[in-house]
């Protein structure tokens, strides 16, 4: 039998066993649904509240993807500036580390004060936590170019723009994708954290984070589980999308993507 099929079947079995254990814990302890709902109750909640679940999921997706995309554009631009001017890099680069260490939970309310509640504020929160990994990794890739390749470009009278876009940028792609992979994971966290504070500009409508707070207040624990499940699926999807894009961009030439070339 195909090995991949076997692995898939094994994974499915593990999942079923875990769901069974979960249900067993609930049933044996006679736990009420507001404490710990069983998988069946969660499934019912998903079905009953499906439209609003999808709406919340979509809002969070937009915020996370928007913040991530903005961080990639701005991050790459900043890294390129750092790569062009060494003195500027040495001057400013240490402060981009601060961006990474700043506790997002603490500054999220501040950003909402400035921008006002709603999707823009949440996207901004996501953007801020996604930015540092992109800048750090891309800068590393842009500056770690084989010195002789730079010499080669200089010998052939390349302009600084040619060196940047034909040499440094392609050289930085593996690093850029490492950065995007890290940021894609935390972008969903950023989106949900933002929503916990910013909620929604309109009552009753908001992303997963907003809905989690709402469901918690209503003691709808089964729906909370459904929302957490949706958030997990979202993070997973982002991760796989980035993996796929990375493979598309790098599989031809990069050693990490080497897939048993037969000579």
């Amino acid at each position: 039998m195909n090995r991949r099929v076997l692995v898939a079947i094994n994974s499915a079995v593990v999942l079923l066993v875990l769901l069974g254990l979960w249900q067993a814990v609930v049933s044996l302890n006679h736990l009420p649904a507001y404490m710990l709902p069983g998988p069946g109750v969660v499934a019912i909640a998903v079905r009953k509240r499906f439209p609003s679940l999808v709406r919340s999921l979509w809002i969070t997706t937009e915020e996370s993807a928007g913040g991530l995309a903005a961080s990639i554009i701005v991050g790459v631009a900043v890294a390129m500036i750092f790569a062009q001017w060494r003195w500027l890099r040495q001057l400013v680069y240490p402060y981009t580390i601060l961006l990474q260490t700043v506790p997002i939970v603490a500054i999220a309310p501040l950003i909402i004060n400035w921008i006002g509640p709603g999707m823009l504020a949440v996207t901004t929160v996501t953007f801020i936590i996604c930015l540092a990994p992109i800048i750090a990794n891309t800068t590393q890739g842009l500056i770690s170019v084989d010195e002789n390749l730079v010499h080669l470009f200089v010998m052939h009278k390349a302009t600084p723009a040619q060196i940047l876009f034909k040499l440094r940028f392609p050289n930085s792609l593996p690093n850029l994708f490492t950065g995007i992979r890290i940021s894609a994971g935390i972008s969903v966290v950023g989106g949900i954290t933002g929503e916990l504070f910013a909620g929604s500009a309109r009552v009753g409508e908001g992303g997963l984070g907003y809905a989690i707070i709402y469901a918690n207040n209503q003691m709808e624990t089964s729906y909370m589980f459904a929302l957490v499940l949706a958030a997990t699926v979202l993070g997973f999807s982002f991760f796989f999308l980035v993996m796929f894009l990375e493979w598309m961009a790098l599989h031809n030439w990069h050693e990490s993507k080497r897939a048993g070339i037969s000579e």
Partner: protein
């Protein structure tokens, strides 16, 4: 009109900020079409000298003229081949070879024509669409040579280009380089620490002594052309290798 030497160095010295002297009072000329090898033990500054001629590094003292111009102005005439193939892994072989034409915005048809011709000249037509990681060491080096030659240089600067190859590949690459030299007649400045390679390739060998780098000997070779595999077994070749080796040993012990 008096013909200018292709490369002329006059009292060239290189001193680092640490005070170390890499090169001291180097003067020599290379005529058009000559194949001159810089030979010497490590630390004699032969690679530094090559970089100074290319304009990648500046001399502390002395004058360098390439075809009558400063090295910076003469860049269009020169191509540099490094010890490593230094191919860009994200480009296919033909895209790597096309680099210099692309940088000077050559028209696409011309680019294709020159790259195709160059790849067939170095025998890489069958791997034109492959990526560097799929090539053997010798093929990578040939791609690197094709990249240097596609801009039709008058002067070729080579910094130990075959040092990383095994001996058989190296011998074959030497013969191919001479074949290309015969067809295209560039002036060559070649750096190596292999005596047999130097003797096989050169019209002239300049031996440098280390600490600081100075010219110790300047030997014109009178071995017959064309140089073929048969030459390697001839007594004249062996005698020349012995003579150059002796000179090189003398330099190392002073």
């Amino acid at each position: 009109m008096v013909s200018l030497p292709e490369i002329a160095l006059n009292g060239v010295s290189k001193r680092y900020s640490t005070g170390a002297v890499a090169l001291d009072g180097i003067s020599f000329e290379v005529e058009r079409g000559e194949f001159v090898t810089l030979l010497g033990p490590s630390g004699c500054g032969k690679s530094t000298l090559l970089r100074i001629v290319s304009g990648l590094s500046a001399a502390s003292e002395g004058a360098i003229r390439v075809n009558g111009m400063t090295p910076e102005n003469a860049r269009e005439l020169m191509s540099f081949i490094f010890q490593d193939p230094t191919l860009m892994p994200w480009r296919t072989v033909e895209q790597n070879v096309a680099l210099s034409l692309e940088l000077e915005h050559a028209a696409r048809p011309l680019r294709c024509e020159r790259v195709t011709a160059m790849l067939s000249l170095v025998g890489l037509t069958h791997v034109a669409r492959r990526y560097p990681r799929e090539l053997s060491g010798g093929m990578k080096m040939r791609a690197s040579i094709a990249r240097a030659l596609v801009s039709r240089p008058r002067i070729l600067l080579l910094d130990e280009p075959f040092a990383a190859l095994d001996e058989m590949t190296r011998d074959r690459m030497n013969e191919e380089l001479l074949r290309l030299h015969g067809e295209q007649k560039w002036t060559v400045l070649f750096v190596t620490h292999s005596v047999t390679e130097a003797v096989f390739l050169s019209t002239r060998i300049v031996i440098l002594s280390p600490h600081p780098g100075r010219i110790a000997h300047d030997v014109a070779l009178d071995l017959p052309w064309p140089r073929t595999t048969a030459l390697r077994d001839s007594p004249a070749f062996e005698q020349t290798v012995t003579r150059i080796s002796r000179l090189l040993r003398g330099v190392q012990h002073t």
